[in-house]
Amino acid sequence: MPAEALKCKECSTTYPLEARYVCERCFGPLEVAYRAPASTADELKRRIQAGPSTLWRYADFLPLDRVPRSSLPTGMTPLVRADRLAERLGIGELWIKNETANPTHSFKDRVVSIALARAIELGFDTVACASTGNLAGAVAAHSAYAGLPAYVFVPGDLEPEKILSAGAYGARIVGVRGNYDDVNRLCTEVSGERENWAFVNVNVRPYYAEGSKTLAFETAEQLGWELPDRVVAPIASGSLFTKVARGFQEFIDAGLLSGDVPAMHGAQAEGCSPVAQAYAAGTDVCRPVKPDTIAKSLAIGNPADGPYAVDLARRTGGSIDAVSDDELRAGIRLLAETTGIFTETAGGVTTATLAKLAARGELGADDRVVAYITGDGLKTLDAVRGSFEVADIEPRFEAFEAIESGVAV
């Protein structure tokens, strides 16, 4: 299914497959358009199954001239059956797509894999990004592997774990005094002035965004080439949310799956919920907000794909919810204690939304549900600090016995 052009999602103007992300006629976002696959479903499936245990197995559906000869192995993360959580919430069948298993512990390794490979094909010599945290680490690590210098722009008040882990790879970290939307505005300007820089989520964003489709491809393959009924996924810019649906649609169109795109349920934090607010208000106009939430990886007050996320949730019979910081903390705990997966704040938002949907009766006993856990709890440790007590004893058996009765088993 070779990529054919970049196409404006608003006015359908097409452009060559270059480093551009905005329609010059209407400023709408550009998306990669493909020719219909020349292969049958059986041929496509055989090629996928014979491919590597990484996202490159889906090369037929990715916008690259060729798959990189080597790269940090990304994707094919576990799809974990979550029976204890399903039972707790009253859901028929629940699966967790555990994206903490990627090289830098978040789904961002996927989008960076595609963006970087395309950037190299297009001849760029420097990689950069505007990050809410997880992207910083992914850009830094994949650039290090490829041997390209990286500039990572982040809000100055980002979690220290995310700044430290990105800096460890040798990237130049630029802390910007402001929130993510300020960082994004700055990077949009810098991108226009640095012609040899590939900003993964600015000038090569159409390629970058395609990486999130692989979340859907893997899910379907891991379910034995079947579709889930419902998906719960976080919304920051709305890119992952909309591309997951597109991934399912492409597999359906190629004859690899039969059925419809799942009902798409989006999750936001109340302190930054422009998309949930638009959904609740019955409009697709996402009024920007000033984020105020501990879910910093979702703290985009001015979401680029917000209108499309709202449309998608409505069209598929899904929803978009927002949860409080306390609810997301409880979500982190709930996921950890029922599945053994420790997620960051964004995953807390997703799990809390899952619980909310179940309580509301939107996820039923007949539903097969997949929740996307996009990042690792080790990067947002403050979210669980103080949520339990650590016993402090002398190294004597009697001291242990004394506290044992008070410790929950």
């Binding site: 608003e10 992300y21 905005v22 010059e24 006629r25 209407c26 400023f27 709408g28 976002p29 505007a130 993510y180 939307d181 300020d182 994004n184 505005r185 990077c187 949009t188 300007e189 991108s191 226009g192 900003f199 989520n201 600015v202 964003r205 965004a209 920051a236 810019s237 709305g238 890119s239 992952l240 106009v285 009024r287 920007p288 000033k290 985009i300 001015n302 979401p303 680029a304 794909d305 209108p307």
Partner: protein, 91 residues
């Protein structure tokens, strides 16, 4: 009152290659009208038929998104800087 308008690379082609322009006006909307008067093609790129900004165009006054201010009616002062940028970056 003269205001500096910074243009994104995507719009410079229809503004004679200029990276910025000067225009007069007492509000952001009036300044943009002044910009359109200099470069007619910019109107259709930035604004819809109803005169409102297209949905993927962001306009900032001194770094602040005008949707947090008073939109196109936001007052401007002499020497202010208005920045036009595409909205689709990031995430």
């Amino acid at each position: 009152m003269a205001v500096t308008i910074k243009l994104p690379t995507q719009l410079r082609g229809v503004a004679g290659g200029a990276a910025e322009a000067q225009a007069d006006g007492s509000t952001v909307g009036e300044v943009l009208e002044g910009l359109y008067a200099q470069h007619g093609e910019l109107r259709d790129r930035i604004a819809g038929d109803d005169g409102e900004l297209r949905r993927f165009v962001n306009v900032y006054l001194k770094g602040e998104d005008i949707r947090f201010l008073d939109g196109l009616a936001t007052p401007v002062a002499d020497g202010d800087e208005v920045t036009i940028l595409p909205a689709v970056a990031g995430g």
